[in-house]
Subunit: 693 residues, 2 copies
């Protein structure tokens, strides 16, 4: 037992290494110059706005978290503590990441100005790496330490629950913020007033730049922090059931390997002045994947000799491959040199309606291939894990999920780099820098859009695998409850020739079907609520920007200063207030179904929610991404470009409508699906053993 | 045994009565005058177009049906015959219904002109009743006779499969036709040329009127014919397992009661000159429901004395209530005096994008309440049926479905009345009749839109319950297969204290999850394919109408005659060719999953497909309906109406874009979901016992 505990200490060690590396990287970024006073001023305004949002968001969540904390205290002290630690760690990761990306934006602009592409990439990617390694490091450190303290994977599932609760709000709140600000800035600034993107005369421009950070960095970071924690714990619970302490700690070691690989991977991200930053990032990602696979091979062989270790290695590699496959599919459906996006652009010729219909069709179609990838991955993972015996099969999917998430450090780094590059361009524009600077930042920004698409696929894919792993951990937890065996909820079945206790979640059972139906419907409702929230928040923003243009004298001439802070404050207020209802729904419905309808209904509920949640996430994200890029493709000069003979090109106008429709789809409602299905899974794991019917 | 067989003869008798009643009703309609030669000419053109479509559709399906027939011949003669009878009966119902509605349109116009509202309602509703009672009568007659011949519910499931295959093509083909014609007529005629709806100068106007019939009458009729057959057979299979021959025949008797109630119900549909036709239809529907409930009470008490009969009665009544409840919910989300539609209209103020976002949100939200209704209905039906013993529970849901569908005769009558009223208005316009006639037909048409919404809810709700009943019949079939017991696919479990054989479809089984994922994704793919098909078909139509306006001299002045037939032919060709791919997918994927992945995956597949199929059906139908009515509400003069100071009102223009987006959603892709999930269920029932893994 003592020997096995080494693995937990390795987890702690790797977590600390990741955090130290993040700290050192942060310090290296901060050493750089922020450029002109004007650049510094803008950057600080963005940072202030972002921090104000985070502060207000977390402040709003404190009472909510405290209520759950107290409720859990009545249940068990260790659960309550784990919950709080999970919530706090998620918040800390958010602060660190946001601090790093918002401090790096002007420095990236300055690097582009004074040095060139290579250094600009280094700074912006390093800022992303701070976020990525904080997420992975805090996740692994938190889980490992709590395990060393409480010695139980079940207890520290509460850590994942804490992370989930925060993640849902961060995703939804951030999603509403970013789109409200974006729509406000675009609709009034670009369309009505006719000023370019990121023009300093636009009152919503700071809010818009803040939005990129709170949506992509903080939201995505919290989302993947949650996946990371939940998957690790689900793997630990299942591993513990099958192999005892050795199995419980194995996922921590996989996480440690992924972190080390991610750190090493960051050093591969280098480019020459005329190089392609995308290639640099791809090399980094591939080497991270490869190092993880090799490391896992040796780890598995050492921990589980023979066929078992080989099977588990394959399952983990499947997870790494899912990551790449979903990324490629996401790119196919949303990249602007591919058929789907071109078809949307073509459809814009006959107006906005046909643009929208085509976009909906692309989004609906885009779910099929990824779902087949998931199905295939599930099958291979189960099959490989069962080489040494059928009872080990259920460990496969958890390990595939763990494999996929082990590289989060690098993937989050790639994703968080995007908003830095985007902001860097914004600062170049607002500070009135020479055109060459903007060319470099635009190059980085374009890469950022691709990495954002890859990260979106990663977030959805990992959410799907995490939800499945949580589902199986739930069945495992419930099955082992003697009280539920006595109550007849858990029954004996014959499997592989011997009698075992299990929670039979038979689809022929009406209670399971009921759960499936309700669970399937919830993602639709949450998507509806978040979509409406964006509309309402954007409406407030539009009115405020219009008011400033009307009331502040000299604003269009650049002599009157817009009230940026008020726009930031309005977006913040709207996002915070509108994240509450979906949040209560996300946490409340699983409780109602579990306690009201029982353990089997809850299992059906989780399955239904996972399926439709993943489907809607893919549909909304890909439709939105495709609409966005169809517009960009036209703006690049195709089909007449933005203007024909000085007159607005109606084809472009149709594409702009599609892009606007896609905004809340891809950046608010779609991303909300990931934490939605995971939060239900972590809640189920906690209440499972209490469901006496 | 001989005594019980009486019930089968009652089924045959009621089926024949229904058909005779339909015949007599048809004769009474045909006695009426068709009005002026011009009216007659237009009506005949519509009828010709509709028949041409049906002929070509069925001709295309003959090879397809023959291949399946031959494949089934290799399996078992009785299956092959039943399949063919099912397909042919569905086709006959389509012919009768289409013949009746297209022959009644001019007669309704003439009744409105020479007599008034009361007679116009009588004729148009009678035409609908011909369709309704043909569907129910042929369904019951076919199932009852085949049972008398083959004495096995399992064998005649092939009848439902035949009906399903036809239904899917009828729904998809009809859906593509109706929208291609509609968009072609609207986009070029109304928008570009600026002529009113149903103007005889519009080359697509006949095709547009044909479309209403092939979509709403033929498509909906085939859809409900399929539900009717499949539910009856699923109920017979489960009833046979539980109660022997008595149970097998009980559903036929329920069907007989529903048919008699529907016939009597039609006599309640009467209105005075100043009355509200909607009230007349509602009274008819309610009395049909009431008579069915009372009849079923006595039937159940006679067949299943004691608690069992009472429980089954309640389950059937639950089905009748689901019908009403889903209708009310559909109306809430799509009626233009309710909040959701008003919100979409309001959102049009800020343009097409916000109109679309709001519509998507309404559609997404609208699925939740109906899913809760289904969940509650499932729960009550199971619970009630289990009063006399837990083993009877699974009969509940089949009986709820049977209760809902027993009144199809009346519901289809209500639905088919819509296209007649719509066509009657079109003929009044095209024949240049006085304005008063159009006022009467518009009144009927408005009612037709509401009944269409109710019928849509009915079709979706019944598809959901039918799919569940088929699912349970599938489990039952597979469970009873001795070969599958030997192969270990079907295993023994302990339920209610005793050991029984069953197919355990455990959601914790990877093969089940894989099936669930694939099944969940298929409806999205089919929705995408059908949506794109409409776009492409409409594109061809738009080009043809533009060509005619350009090339036919004097067309706008009314001196040159448009080539109506060519538009009809183009819509027909496009619809037929584009229904093939989704059709192959609908039939092929269940086969691949079943034979490739096994019985449990197929069960997961059916569940996943049912959930997302029903969700998408509700989402697409309700979003489309809401967009449509938001536009109509504005056109009624709200928010500025169609024009402000002679200039097009941008708010209305935004709403028109939403309406156009909604068209393929509500009339093509949404309705395709119903037969999609049912066809998979009937296929599963056939191949179930062959799945040795």
């Amino acid at each position: 037992m003592q020997e096995s505990m080494i693995l937990a200490w390795i987890g702690v060690g790797a977590g600390i290494v990741a955090l130290l590396f993040a700290l050192a990287t942060m310090a290296s970024v901060l050493k750089e110059s922020m450029g002109t006073p004007k650049m510094k001023e803008i950057s600080e305004a963005i940072q202030e706005g972002a921090m104000a949002f985070l502060n207000r968001q977390y402040k709003t969540l404190i009472p909510f978290a405290l209520i759950i904390f107290v409720l859990l205290l009545f249940y068990q002290f260790s659960f309550a503590v784990s919950f709080l630690v999970g919530a706090v760690c998620s918040a800390i990761a958010g602060y660190i990441g946001m601090n790093s990306t918002t401090k790096a934006n002007a420095r990236t602009t300055e690097a582009a100005r004074s040095s060139g592409l290579s250094k600009a990439l280094t700074i912006s990617f390093r800022a992303g790496a701070v976020m990525g390694l904080s997420v992975a490091g805090l996740g692994l450190l938190g889980v490992s330490s709590l395990f060393l303290i409480f010695k139980s994977a079940t207890v520290i599932n509460s850590f994942a629950f804490g992370a989930s609760a925060i993640a849902f709000f961060a995703r939804v709140g951030g999603g509403i913020y970013t789109k409200a600000a974006d729509v406000g800035a675009d609709l009034v600034g670009k369309v009505e007033a006719g000023i370019p993107e990121d023009d300093p005369r636009n009152p919503a421009t700071i809010a818009d730049n803040v939005g990129d950070n709170v949506g992509d960095t903080a939201g995505m970071g919290a989302d993947l922090f949650e996946s990371y924690a939940a998957t690790t714990i689900a793997g630990m619970i299942l591993g513990n059931s099958l192999f005892g302490i050795k199995g419980a700690l194995f996922p921590l070691a996989v996480g440690a390997i992924g972190i080390i690989a991610s750190i090493v991977g960051t050093f591969f991200v280098r480019t020459s002045e005329n190089g392609n930053p995308q290639t640099a990032l791809n090399i980094g990602l591939w080497s991270t994947n490869l190092m993880t696979a090799v490391g896992v091979y040796f780890l598995s062989a050492w921990t589980f000799p023979g066929l078992l270790g080989q099977g588990i290695t394959l399952a983990i590699i499947v997870g790494l491959i899912v990551n790449v496959a979903v990324g490629i599919l996401t790119e196919y459906y949303t990249a602007n040199n591919k058929k789907p996006v071109m078809a949307i652009a073509e459809a814009s010729k006959t107006g906005a309606a046909t643009n929208i219909i085509q976009g909906l069709a692309v989004g609906l179609e885009s779910v099929f291939a990824p779902m087949l990838v998931f199905a295939l991955a599930i099958w291979i993972a189960f099959w490989a894990a069962s080489w040494a015996g059928p009872q080990f099969a259920i460990f496969g999917i958890a390990m595939a999920a763990m494999g996929m998430l082990s590289t989060s450090g690098f993937v989050v780094a790639m994703d968080s780099f995007g908003p830095v590059a985007d902001n860097a361009g914004g600062i170049a524009e607002m500070a009135g820098l020479e055109k060459e600077v903007r060319i470099i930042t635009d190059k980085l920004d374009a890469v950022g859009n691709t990495t954002a698409a890859i990260a979106k696929g990663f977030a959805i894919g990992s959410a799907a695998l995490t939800a499945l792993a949580l589902f199986q951990a739930y069945i495992d937890e419930v099955t082992r409850s003697v009280a539920l065996q006595d109550a007849g909820v858990v029954t004996k079945i014959t499997e592989h020739g011997k009698e075992i206790w299990t929670l039979v979640v038979n689809l022929n059972d009406p209670m399971v079907i009921i759960g499936l139906f309700i669970g399937g419907a919830v993602p639709f409702l949450v998507a509806a609520l978040t979509m409406k929230a964006v509309g309402e928040a954007a409406f407030g923003m539009v009115n405020e920007v219009r008011r400033q243009f009307r009331e502040i004298p000299g604003i269009m001439e650049g002599t009157g200063k817009p009230d940026y802070a008020r726009c930031v404050s309005i977006a913040t207020g709207a996002a915070i207030s509108k994240m509450i209802a979906p949040g209560i729904l996300a946490v409340g419905v699983p409780l109602v179904v579990g306690f009201g309808l029982g353990a089997k209904s809850l299992a059906g509920f989780l399955s239904g929610m996972t399926v439709t949640g993943v489907l809607l996430a893919l549909f909304l994200a890909n439709a939105g991404g495709a609409w966005d890029n169809a517009k960009k493709w036209i703006e690049a000069g195709n089909l007449g470009g933005k203007k024909i003979d000085g007159e607005p090109n109606p084809i472009h106008q149709a594409a702009v409508i599609g892009d606007t429709v896609g905004d809340p789809c891809k950046d608010t409602s779609g991303p909300a699906m990931n934490p939605l299905i995971k939060v239900a899974g972590t809640i189920a794991l906690i209440i499972g053993p209490m469901l006496f019917k």
